[in-house]
Amino acid sequence: MSSNAIIFISLSVILSVVSFLLDRKKTLAGFKKGWNMFKNMLLPFLLILVVISVLLYFIPPALISKYLGANSGVVGFAIAAFVGSIALIPGFISYPIAAGLIDQGASYAIVATFMTTLMMVGIVTLPLEIRYFGKRVAITRNVLNFFAAIIIGLIVGIIL
């Protein structure tokens, strides 16, 4: 069993016991909420695992490390930032993708850039954002976050 599993299992057991001793009803309500969230994400999650498994088979690691690895330079950041800005991938699905990319030789800096643009920049949802904030503000926010994402990637790369 991975250390991850051990950490999450022990933490959830400890919290459950404490919560149960404090308030039985609340604890059960919490379990129910957690279960519903898990149920909602299970199907898309399984699908993305299939997609990743297929892609990992067909895309050679050498290709990933060439374009997204530590020595990919500006090209790597550009690919990560643009794909991250355009793609509309739910957060929880992006993590196994990111982990897969790192396994195959992508650098932390580039994965951090990809993740950050994915989370903070939304080209596809821009029309919706404009309805709330207006054109000028929505575009400004996205542009600022685009560059912030690259800065975040660079700093993460330097630290890790």
């Binding site: 919490g30 379990f31 695992l49 903070m120 926010r141 976050n145």
Partner: protein, 179 residues
């Protein structure tokens, strides 16, 4: 209706994958077998921590008084106001566009421009359920570094937006249509 269709779609794809995998094993099609091995590995990785993460998230949800925090937001200013919006953002779930209505609510309640954009930043990259999954997949070190590097940057964006919009009659609409 759209949701129902979407749900079916996932089942169809998964079913198709299952059939192709079974066929791969029957006919000894190696790529299919290899892909299934990849899938099993990532599935085991997922199933050994994600359900427990959701137990933690569910308990969090019932014990942390989200409404209470929401009530105080907007009235508080300074560091306290900033900490409160970040906290509120961390307790949410869902995609960024789900935060726009909340931004509208914050605006209505008189939150500062700075805090509204800090909320969006924290919502995008520091939600607790997402941090849990991130730690599970990319490790605590990556998550910690990424979060700590991101935080000052989106606080900076908050200040920048406030400075930029100060005299520009900034307003957030309820998203129902034109401005």
């Amino acid at each position: 209706m759209k949701n129902v269709l979407k749900k079916y779609q996932s089942y169809i794809w998964l079913g198709a994958y299952a059939i192709l995998t079974i066929l791969s094993f029957i006919f000894g099609f190696n790529p299919g077998k290899q892909i299934f091995t990849n899938f099993t590995q990532s599935f085991i990785e997922m199933i050994t921590f994600i359900p427990f993460l959701f137990i933690i998230v569910g308990l969090f949800d019932v014990w942390v008084p989200k409404e209470q925090i929401q009530k105080h937001i907007g009235q508080e200013s300074g560091i306290k106001g900033m900490v409160l919006v970040i906290l509120l953002a961390m307790l949410q779930a869902g995609p960024l566009y789900g935060a726009f209505p909340v931004a509208y609510m914050l605006f209505k309640k008189g939150a500062s421009i700075k805090n509204i954009f800090i909320y969006l930043g924290a919502f995008a990259s520091m939600k607790i359920p997402m941090l849990g999954i991130e730690i599970g997949y990319l490790g605590i070190k990556f998550s910690l570094v990424r979060t700590l590097v991101s935080l000052p940057l989106f606080i900076g964006i908050g200040y920048l937006m406030e400075w930029y919009l100060k005299d520009k009659d900034f307003r957030i609409s309820d998203g129902s249509g034109g401005r």
